[in-house]
Symmetry: C3
Subunit: 139 residues, 3 copies
Amino acid sequence: MPKMFRNKIKIKTERRTQLVDITAQVENVVRESGCDDGVCYVYVSHTTAGVIVNEGYDPDVARDIEVTLDRLVPREGDYCHDEGNSDAHIKTALTSSSAVIFIEGGKLLLGRWQKIFFCEFDGPRHREIWLKVCPDAAG
Amino acid sequence: MPKMFRNKIKIKTERRTQLVDITAQVENVVRESGCDDGVCYVYVSHTTAGVIVNEGYDPDVARDIEVTLDRLVPREGDYCHDEGNSDAHIKTALTSSSAVIFIEGGKLLLGRWQKIFFCEFDGPRHREIWLKVCPDAAG
Amino acid sequence: MPKMFRNKIKIKTERRTQLVDITAQVENVVRESGCDDGVCYVYVSHTTAGVIVNEGYDPDVARDIEVTLDRLVPREGDYCHDEGNSDAHIKTALTSSSAVIFIEGGKLLLGRWQKIFFCEFDGPRHREIWLKVCPDAAG
């Protein structure tokens, strides 16, 4: 019977607000897991960064998401938290700390234009993403 | 031992921004799966549409969500992506590409007022929603 | 073979918009489940409340998230739904109705600063949170 597999991805972000396409690294972990069919959970263990699935073909889409989140939740504002990164916590709440993607035939089952993006909101920093690959019950 | 079941729903949206209640179609797939107890994953493979769980009793709630998302992220704005649908990608990031719902006694375990909504942000279009039903381990 | 475990948490919120740290209650359910390694799903069955994972060390972070959501989606606005809580439904759509957290060694695998927050948007109310603990396949 297939087994669960867990691993980490480590990345280095370059800007304060930055969407980073991590699809290839997630694919590598799925390959490493040996899982043919199952579910892949992507989990961000930070509180000033999130994860989304979105368009990865035109990099302008990621840029537009970054700019718009910065417009909706500016770095400066009516904040009490005194570390100067309340906006980053709020953007994390508006995106998500986790994503789930199906696995089929040993590959991530993504839509044609979909990529997995780590969402840095308080970079540049060294970051970790936790992955868990759960094979389907064998039946 | 129970087995995983996967299927697709196909819908046709009618407006550019439109929440579509897909609960009945998801229920049908759960019934078809034969799963008594488990988890149902709803996954949107598009990058200009999402999925949420929200109130389905009064259709004005869906309308208020649509109007407010259009106010927060207008169609026209400081966008680089030249396809004219950056707002739709951003709304997808603010909602979600997936939802998870428990299954109990062969039915979706939803709260009293909860329905599952496909969130169209760049319609009208033909759309697909991927579903995966994972039965609980038999123990 | 390990079995699925399901339970509920009941809480009482005190303010209209309020993030409530429910990590200890979720930990209790994980302990009660006897699960060593697996996945914990947190599901909010209400349509005017959500769940997020965010910083729990400085309570000002939760306060800043509350205030910013109230700024982005004010209680009064161009709403059709006549119960006066459209903003609460919209804030639920912007956060999430569910969260997934890994379990390892019988404990929630959270990042150093992460806590699980129930997000009340139409309180004060009595609320329920549904939990499901799914052990990993034994292999």
